[in-house]
């Protein structure tokens, strides 16, 4: 842990902009016991902060600003708070509360005409928060539990049995109707409500050979939540890739990619997951590493930044990140050869934030869906606003997450589509619980499952659980 007591601006500064940002503003002179918010180890960059011209174009796409209409819960407001931190303001509970409230959806990055890299700023800030802020015992316990569970497939798998038994027992209805869990432990209630109805796990081999002529050799990330809660998505991904002429390599030793840790400032944990993932795929000799979970793909593309300071891994991480592709991105680049069978269905496509905003992948999944004869695509109003899932945000912030989820569900219902398609397990869980609460009956599927059904000539009824 690196700590510093930066209180004066007369330290030598190599970057003149940084010097300006630090020397300006209130400096707690004569109060050396007050530690400024950030230490010297990669604080949010003053130079990136100075890109913000305070135009406010980010506000209307920011989920928390949409909810609360407060400046400090908006991207430009949080940037102001970061600046205050750089100028010596302490990391108060209030400040942390506003950083924590950010969903990390990156809608602001898309909306920003000045090119502010808010994603880098908030990630750097979160690492500092984790390093210097003491959380309440309850919050700490919840976070410890989450990070002891989600990134570990075996532990998630262990949970499958009891969860299936619970879901089969009819207890969920009783529990939800009673509202008991909501009152006793809202965060647990949120988790309970989000858990999807579990499907049977399909075990994937380590290598799935290409159908017909081989066009590429790809690695496939199976993920944690995706693999355990939505195993059908992984199976569909492997089938589609094979049908399009790819040898699919699925290394056994792969684990969590570290996305949840990256997005929550748990730097060391993130780094170690990143190294392990690189190790798992590096020797497989693949042309691309294909990912079907938006959040995972987004952070794997960031490995170069995450491991930039690690001399053993910096170069390898760069090479690895260069190979990472979202499955829709990869298929669009490859071009499809496998014939599509018609699917007579109206589809509402939901942009997962970590696919649309973080990776800029919007047209590829839409175009792939449009290739399917008979399929009609509809757009969802307020498409740029997050559904409220945001990794573990909906577990830590159940009430606002529910408001955002319900808003999204209303917009989805407004399309009148029969099937909701998206590319992230978190969105699927969040949106399905909101749709269920709202009583909207609509099928849910991952983009790749729709393509898979079309290639295999399966009927629409096989797609996703009906809600």
């Amino acid at each position: 842990m690196v700590e510093s007591t930066r209180a004066r601006s007369d330290e030598p500064q190599s970057d003149p902009r940084k010097a300006d940002a630090l020397s300006a503003g209130p400096v707690p002179v004569g109060t050396p016991t007050v530690r400024s918010a950030f230490d010297e180890d990669h604080p949010p960059s003053a130079e990136l902060i100075s890109d913000c011209v305070h135009c406010g174009f980010c506000l209307s796409t920011c989920p928390t600003y949409t909810l609360w209409g407060e400046e400090m819960d908006s991207p430009r407001g949080r940037i102001d708070l970061m600046k205050a931190g750089l100028q010596g303001a302490p990391l108060s509970d209030t400040m942390v509360q506003h950083f924590d409230a950010c969903l990390g959806c990156m809608a602001c990055v898309t909306a920003c005409p000045s090119g502010v890299q808010y994603d880098k700023l908030i990630e750097a800030t979160r690492v500092q928060v984790e390093r210097h802020h003491t959380r309440s015992p309850g919050d700490r316990a919840m976070r410890t539990a989450i990070f002891a569970l989600f990134p570990y497939k075996k532990r998630l798998r262990a949970l499958r049995g009891p969860l299936r038994a619970y879901q089969a027992s009819g207890l969920p209805k009783v529990v939800r109707r009673s509202g008991l869990l909501d009152r006793l432990a809202p965060k647990l209630a949120a988790m309970e409500g989000l858990a999807p109805v579990l499907e049977k796990r399909e075990k994937l081999p380590e290598r799935v050979p290409a159908t017909g002529a081989r066009r590429a050799v790809v690695g496939m990330l199976t993920g944690c939540v995706q693999g355990e809660f939505f195993p059908g998505v992984n199976a569909a991904t492997a089938r589609v890739l094979a049908a399009e002429g790819c040898d699919v390599i699925i290394p056994r030793r792969q684990g969590c990619c570290g996305a949840l840790s990256v997005h929550n400032g748990r730097q060391e944990e993130a780094e170690s997951f990143a190294r392990a993932t690189i190790d798992a795929f590096e020797s497989a000799g693949v042309d691309a590493v294909v990912v079907n979970a938006a959040g995972c793909g987004s952070s794997m593309k960031e490995y170069a930044d995450i491991l930039a300071d690690d001399p053993d891994y910096a170069e390898r991480a760069k090479a690895f990140s260069g190979k990472v592709r979202d499955v829709s991105e990869f298929l669009a680049e490859l071009g499809s050869v496998a014939p599509r069978h018609p699917l007579e269905v109206t589809v509402a496509y939901h942009d997962a934030c970590h696919l649309g905003h973080a990776q800029g992948i919007r047209s590829q999944p839409r175009n792939l869906l449009k290739e399917i004869p008979g399929l009609q695509l509809r757009e969802i109003a307020e498409a740029e606003v997050c559904c409220g899932s945001a990794g573990i945000w909906n577990v830590l912030n159940p009430e606002p997450a529910r408001e955002l989820g319900d808003r999204k569900a209303r917009n989805i219902a407004g399309t009148g589509a029969e099937l909701l398609v998206t590319a992230n397990p978190g969105c699927l869980m969040q949106v399905s619980s909101s749709l269920e609460r709202q009583g909207t009956r609509i099928g849910l599927a991952h983009t790749i499952e729709v393509i898979d059904a079309s290639i295999r000539g399966l009927p629409v009824s096989t797609l996703g659980p009906q809600h």
């Binding site: 003149p16 902009r17 300006d20 940002a21 020397s23 300006a24 503003g25 209130p26 003053a46 902060i49 100075s50 890109d51 913000c52 011209v53 305070h54 135009c55 406010g56 174009f57 506000l59 209307s60 609360w68 209409g69 407060e70 400046e71 400090m72 908006s74 430009r76 407001g77 940037i79 102001d80 708070l81 600046k83 205050a84 303001a89 108060s92 209030t94 400040m95 506003h98 909306a111 920003c112 005409p113 000045s114 090119g115």
Partner: protein
């Protein structure tokens, strides 16, 4: 403007050359402490905990609006949800002599919502209900925090939209639009906010709720509504606005036309308008502005263009077709080398995206910049543009031009690097000289951004003392206590008891302690 430009203090504007009066325009931190505490108590009794902000860290995020080089931390921020709450807080301000500043989304470009260090910032971002869409009457009744674009979104399914469209329409609020009489690209054909607001419920600076105008097009008596629209928050706070909805046109055609020079583009503009064609919008961007927009949103404007025009025609299909033929001809006759017609909504959005993001996009090609706003008669365009180019080359300060060519509303963007010695001063000099050019060519110091705190010092260049005193009489009639956004618009604060006219010091009676000016 860059967020890190200049030095910052917790009170007082930060620009070096800001006139000394401006300090009193923003107040001193710590003043009115008792009054502010009293207003805070009133607000807390009426609102949820999150509706009253007094934490210094949180207050800091409200220190500026869209003009970020003026920064003042307010003493208190209040986020009311209802007219009753807002009126009660204003009344408390009035009773305790505490100045207040109203703010919507905080996107203004003249510092009109710059807070007072000794006052309360009243933010309307939680008053965002569209109360009514009256399709048959072509009216909408909305709260002040409603986002401009959301009015259009709500009216579109009914076949209508809200015409004024500032570049920031995705986030700017109707209350702010009303205060600043905002324009936008389409005001060439459809007019400014003042042409679209038919009524408002106003909280006077004494905290009374009054109605001005209504659903009907005109009210008898003095046009108080017309006085309030564009008064920059100095006459009260609007809590609802009744706005006109305009029928969605049968057809819209958006063209992007490339020219080699701004002279050619300007000549094409004049040819189009003088032939009697009234497009919904004619917007011009010069090479530097195009470069910035390309960097920001990859709008794919014609390569190598010295200027582009974005022209939008709307109306009945037959009319649009006829106008399109004329526009195409006038562009070609004036040296256009590429004309693109948007074929679908996506292409139209991309053309507009380049234009609408241009201000903020300039941040990509320059560390700091000043967004200037001036207006000139359209016929003076070529001459003023040449004069700006001369100013730029003689001073070495780069100037990008983005403007509403159709109605002569210029938005020169003066680029500089605040880190370089003397650069800020040089840029401000050029920026000021551009305003002088506007005045000498029969124009004005602001077309649509308002005077705010930024241009108060330029008011005497346009108006005589008598003019300014007359305006002050209007202000005093609404706000005798001088608590509603004091320090904006007018260069010199003036007490309402004073006789209009130049005065160097306090009234002799006040000085002698025999009378109070109020």
């Amino acid at each position: 403007m860059s967020g890190t430009h200049g030095t910052e203090t917790t009170a007082g504007p930060v620009l070096g050359d800001t006139p000394p009066e401006a300090t009193s325009a923003t107040g001193e931190a710590g003043d009115n402490a008792a009054g502010i505490a009293a207003v805070g108590r009133v607000a807390r009794a009426l609102m949820p905990e999150t509706g009253v902000i007094a934490d210094p860290t949180q207050l800091r995020t409200y220190e500026c609006d869209g003009l970020a080089h003026y920064r003042v931390t307010p003493a208190l921020v209040v986020l009311p949800e209802t007219t009753e709450q807002l009126a009660a807080v204003v009344k408390a301000c009035s009773e305790h002599g505490v100045p207040f500043v109203a703010r919507g989304s905080g996107t203004g470009l003249s510092g009109g919502a710059l807070p007072r260090a000794d006052g309360v910032l009243l933010v309307t971002s939680r008053m965002r209900t569209i109360r009514e869409i009256r399709r048959a009457d072509q009216r909408a009744i909305v709260e002040p925090g409603v986002i401009n674009l959301d009015v259009t979104r709500a009216a579109t399914p009914e076949g209508y939209y809200y015409a004024p469209d500032p570049s920031s329409q995705q986030i700017c609020s109707i209350g702010g639009n009303l205060a600043e009489n905002s324009g936008g690209a389409h005001c060439l054909k459809y007019g400014f906010t003042s042409n679209h607001v038919l009524g408002t419920e106003l909280i006077t600076p004494q905290g009374d709720v009054v109605s001005l105008g209504g659903l009907a097009p005109d009210s008898p008596g003095y046009d108080l509504l017309g006085t309030v629209v564009g008064s920059e928050g100095t006459l009260g706070i609007a809590t609802t606005a009744t706005v006109r909805l305009v029928r969605l046109p049968e057809e819209v055609r958006t063209l992007l036309v490339g020219f080699h020079t701004t002279d050619d583009a300007g000549a094409a503009t004049s040819a189009i308008i003088s032939a009697g064609v009234l497009p919904a919008a004619i917007e011009m961007m010069d090479a530097l502005a195009i470069e910035a927009a390309e960097a920001a949103v990859h709008c794919n404007y014609p390569a190598g263009a010295g200027a582009v025009l974005v022209i939008e025609l709307d109306g009945a299909s037959a009319e649009v077709e006829h106008e399109y033929q004329l526009v195409e001809r006038f562009c070609q006759e004036n040296g256009s080398f590429e004309l693109r017609l948007a074929t679908d909504a996506t292409e139209r959005a991309l053309i507009w995206r380049g234009r609408k993001s241009a201000f903020a996009a300039v941040g990509r090609i320059s560390p700091d910049y000043i967004v200037q706003d001036g207006v000139i008669p359209r016929t003076a365009l070529p001459e003023v543009l040449r004069a700006i180019a001369e100013l730029s080359s003689s001073s070495g300060v780069r100037v990008a031009n983005v403007f509403h060519a159709g109605d002569g509303n210029l938005h020169p963007l003066v680029l500089f690097d605040g880190e370089k010695e003397g650069a800020t001063e040089a840029a401000e000099k050029v920026s000021g000289a551009i305003l002088d050019l506007c005045i000498t060519h029969g124009g004005a110091i602001t077309g649509e951004h308002g005077v705010g705190v930024d241009k108060a010092a330029y008011m005497p260049k346009m108006f005589t003392d008598d003019d300014l005193d007359t305006m002050q009489l209007v202000r005093c009639a609404f706000d005798p206590g001088n608590i509603s956004n004091p320090g904006k618009i007018f260069p010199t604060p003036r007490l309402c008891g004073e006789v209009p006219g130049k005065r160097k010091k306090a009234h002799p009676l006040v000085e002698a302690g025999l009378a109070d000016a109020f």
